[in-house]
């Protein structure tokens, strides 16, 4: 197994870890964190695809690399927006959780 495949598997596992945190953790801030973790995994997959497409004189295909740079900046912008929304929600309601008033997780509320 070469290095690119190893990092590809790492990226795949990171997507799984991030997805798990995104679904299970009720705190919005931790959800944002998990989503960023998931994003890091997806970017890594892009990096592996770029690395495999390398030609002589280049470390990788520059097109996916440039797309990842754009994606990192956009992910930061989205994170800033999400955090501002969560904080306003906290200021308005005094709570830092969005799950207890949605009907979808009512089951979990009874069990815990």
């Amino acid at each position: 197994m070469n290095a690119a495949t190893l990092f590809g598997l790492c990226g795949a596992a990171l997507v799984g870890i991030g997805l798990y945190g995104l679904i299970t953790n009720p705190e919005p801030l931790r959800k944002i964190l998990a989503f960023n973790l998931l994003g890091g995994g997806v970017f890594l997959l892009f990096g592996v695809i770029a690395r495999r497409a390398a030609v002589a004189g280049l470390g990788g295909d520059p097109v996916p690399q440039a797309m990842v740079i754009t994606a990192i900046v956009v992910a930061f912008a989205a994170t800033a927006m999400a955090i501002a929304l969560v904080q306003r929600l906290g200021d308005e309601t005094g709570r830092a959780s969005i799950s207890s008033d949605s009907s979808g997780t009512g089951d979990g509320e009874e069990k815990s």
Partner: protein, 313 residues
């Protein structure tokens, strides 16, 4: 097994362990610290994948700026009643199965690459000399996919508008709340006086060198933004009120210049965002310089958050 592959295996194990503990650790503060470490480790992985431009961006924005943003959010949410119900055990097991399925699908896709791997690298290298740039990633960002880069700047501005619009009515046009957790400390003030001159030179250097080597407007802009935030956090200077004209002017300067040059391309080079032959490099450098300033201001204001108090005259 060579030393390099031992290093790679150890790095991957470390990234996965840190990533998992980011999710599993109880305290939000510890999770954010883990996330910053995760960002830095990921940037080493990018170096191992021979993508130094991405590594710089990941370290600066993915680790540093996002970490700052999240740390600020954790510090502010401490007073709020944190914690809702975790989902029950069956649901958690189902989630585990779903995530394992996703991982397996992605892993299979990674283990079985197509016979002929599609690549645009030869096309990029063929056309790169026309732009006068030496860094193929910068070439893709500013020549071949310039529309993406332009729209990305617009996304940054839209996100900033979104953050600002979350301000309470009384604070509109006022100052961001970054001062809330700024505690003036002589050591921090010392750093905020010593580091910014070095950081500003470094940020400009990164932007300049981006035409030829890894670096560029994003990375340079992030360093400038970090220096600005350091000065604000140390309490040497207040965050500017968002109603200030110079602030808004700086924010739009980069995208407006980019758009103007893009529109001029219609007249002088027959296509939107095309550069007239022979003038490509100076135009790109001008756009990059303006964008670096705009990115620095936009990132700084995004990290500073929505305005919280009315402007004091």
């Amino acid at each position: 097994m060579s030393i390099a592959s031992v290093f790679d295996v150890a790095l991957v194990a470390l990234i996965l362990a840190i990533g998992a503990s980011t999710i599993l650790v109880r305290k939000a503060f510890a999770a954010v610290v883990m996330f910053v470490v995760y960002g830095l480790l990921l940037s080493i992985a990018w170096v191992r994948l021979h993508a130094v431009d991405v590594a710089l961006t990941e370290a600066a924005i993915g680790g540093g700026m996002t970490g700052l943003l999240l740390l600020g959010a954790v510090a502010r949410s401490r007073s709020v009643n944190v914690g809702g119900p975790w989902i029950g055990r069956p649901a958690r097991l189902a989630t585990c199965a779903l995530c394992a399925l996703v991982v397996a699908g992605l892993a299979i896709a990674m283990l079985h690459p197509p016979e002929v791997i599609p690549t645009l690298a030869p096309t990029v290298m063929e056309s790169l000399p026309q732009s006068g740039l030496g860094n193929p990633v910068a070439g893709v960002l500013f020549v071949f996919r310039a529309l993406d880069t332009l729209l990305e700047k617009v996304v940054l501005l839209l996100a900033l508008l979104g953050v600002w619009s979350l301000a309470p009515d009384r604070a509109w046009g006022g100052m961001p709340g970054l001062h809330v957790y700024a505690r003036s400390d002589p050591t921090l003030i010392f750093l905020a006086q010593l580091l910014p001159p070095v950081g500003i030179v470094f940020g400009i250097y990164m932007c300049w060198v981006g035409a030829k080597d890894p670096g560029g407007a994003f990375q340079g802009g992030t360093v400038l933004a970090a220096m600005w935030l350091l000065v604000i956090v140390a309490g040497l200077q207040k965050a500017p009120a968002i109603g200030r004209l110079w602030l808004r002017g700086l924010l739009v300067a980069g995208p407006v210049l980019f758009l103007a040059i893009g529109l001029a391309g219609w007249v002088f080079a027959d296509a939107f965002l095309a550069y007239p032959a022979g003038y490509a490099k100076p135009l790109i450098v001008a756009v990059e310089a303006a964008l670096t300033l705009s990115i620095a201001v936009a990132l700084g204001m995004l990290a500073a958050g929505p305005p919280e108090r009315a402007q004091q005259q």
